[in-house]
Symmetry: C2
Subunit: 141 residues, 2 copies
């Protein structure tokens, strides 16, 4: 196995709602709101949205689609300027998300906040001057 | 917001178990099994593991750490050869994962299967000759 994640797929309960949420945040896709799956271009891994019940069905007939409040997974969006943290949180709220943790100092030395998308998936928006990024904004380890 | 996911963090219930699982699958990290967080190098988005309770706490004190069987999120690992699908599934099983869907034809024209990691997070392993990849193996949309 090569160390690569090609696609992250979020199972969504209202496809058009999620489509508009992510396109309003600036994610680009060739899909239409009436399609059944949308692949969003990102630098690196592709983000996809797909109906939750169909995603569960694709894995196995035994997968329950009941979700708890916390999926156990977070997606992080790191920004280049400290002020961008709050700006992105507000943008997410205006697009139909919810600010779960307002912009604040993080215990690990950075500055961050969290928003949830319409299905309750959590995105961390973070600024950390000790991280290095490549020309595409991806984290360099 | 730029269309970028910097980090995917999986909240894990046994850090050392997950550390060994992902390092056995070939994911590289500078972290030690006794650390509190591990960032794995990938082409594009970084994969991280972090204790589930601490991840929930980092989002908000209101987040319950009870997880259902399905997080609602899948991670896809696309391979370049059809035979690699089964090979990766077997590798994941040998590293302590579970094959949830054996390698088979997919309804969308490709060939795929699923494994779950020690915390039940689902990875799709897929081959599709209609997808294009860049030199790092990332999907080109």
């Amino acid at each position: 196995m090569e160390s690569r994640i090609t696609i992250i797929t979020l199972g969504v309960t209202d496809f058009q709602r999620s489509y508009h949420f992510y396109t309003e945040l600036g994610f680009k896709t060739d899909a239409k709101p009436t399609d059944h799956i949308a692949f969003f271009k990102t630098s690196g891994t592709v983000l996809a949205i797909y109906p939750l019940d169909k995603l569960a069905e694709d894995i196995s007939p035994d997968i329950s689609i009941e979700k708890s409040a916390f999926s156990g997974i977070t997606l992080a969006h790191n920004v280049k300027q400290k002020n961008d943290v709050n700006a992105v949180l507000i943008q997410a709220q205006e697009a139909g998300g919810r600010i779960v943790k307002p912009a604040q100092d993080a215990f690990w030395g950075g500055y961050h906040g969290y928003f949830s998308d319409p299905d309750g998936y959590f995105w961390e928006v973070a600024y950390f001057d000790q991280f290095k990024y490549d020309e595409n904004g991806n984290l360099v380890l």
